[in-house]
Amino acid sequence: MKAAVIVFPGSNCDRDLAVAFERAGADVTRVWHKETDLPEGVDVVGIPGGFSYGDYLRCGAIAAQSPICRAVVRHTERGGYALGICNGFQVLTEARMLPGVLMRNAGLKFLCRTVGLTVGAQSEFTAGYGEAAEIALPIAHHDGNYRADAETLDRLEGEGRVAFRYTDNPNGSDRDIAGILSENRRVLGMMPHPERAVDAGHGATDGQPLFAHLVGALAPA
């Protein structure tokens, strides 16, 4: 199973994301933002956290127009998988691969701590957790306040596309949303960092099931 992790100027979680995929058994390539194509045969694209292009204009806005992002759009249109974490989630919304936006946290502060989450959707990203599992993952963001119009939120909930919800909403997100899936359930955007909880040395391993199941599910039989 092949994973590609995109590297933008200002990405800072790309190495951790690559390691998380590798530990789960994936063959990982890191891909610079100026590339116009993904490596041949990539199954899943990881869009890492960080501050792509210095968060200029709006978080993720400039990354969403980069050459590699167009390749990621084509990959997802062909039914490929993509996982955007933190700034990666912001890139996915700016590129309109996922609906809604991530605004400044309601309390205006950068939040860096571990938060409780409930897992709430069926997908290859979440199947490694039990039904309605409660997990804990780190967050580290200034702009994680998920907003969408009521119609979009109703649709996400009605179609079971809310992958993760905060148990104690830290940032003002509509309906406690921490992560959402695309219509075909192959694109996941989430603010919490599963790649920062995959090793006993991290002090937590609640991120492991996400990578383990995804890599296992996409590995050739």
């Binding site: 204009l57 709006r58 806005a61 400039i62 127009q65 700016e94 609906p99 809604g100 936006v101 605004m103 400044r104 946290n105 309601a106 309390g107 205006l108 306040n145 907003r147 969408a148 003002g172």
Partner: protein
């Protein structure tokens, strides 16, 4: 040609930064500030031949990058 784009949050979208500025103004003793909304001004130098072309170009730029039309609205001013 020069263009100036004003990008503002749409009405009804909560602006936590504007709210923080409003609180600070109150703390400085400025009473009677009912609301504050914060936005961006973007100035562009363009090669466009005429105003209509410039405006059409800038509109595409706004839709594609300069504004996130999910939450923001924009106004374009063009001058020679």
């Amino acid at each position: 040609m020069k263009a100036r784009v004003h990008v503002m949050l749409k009405d009804g979208v909560l602006d936590p930064q504007g709210e923080a500025v409003r609180h600070a103004l109150g703390a400085m003793g400025f009473g009677g500030v009912g609301g504050v909304r914060q936005g961006k001004v973007i100035e562009l130098d363009l090669d466009a031949a005429d105003e209509a072309t410039a405006r059409a170009e800038v509109e595409k730029m706004c839709e594609g990058l300069l504004a996130n039309t999910v939450i923001e609205r924009y106004e374009i001013e063009v001058s020679a």
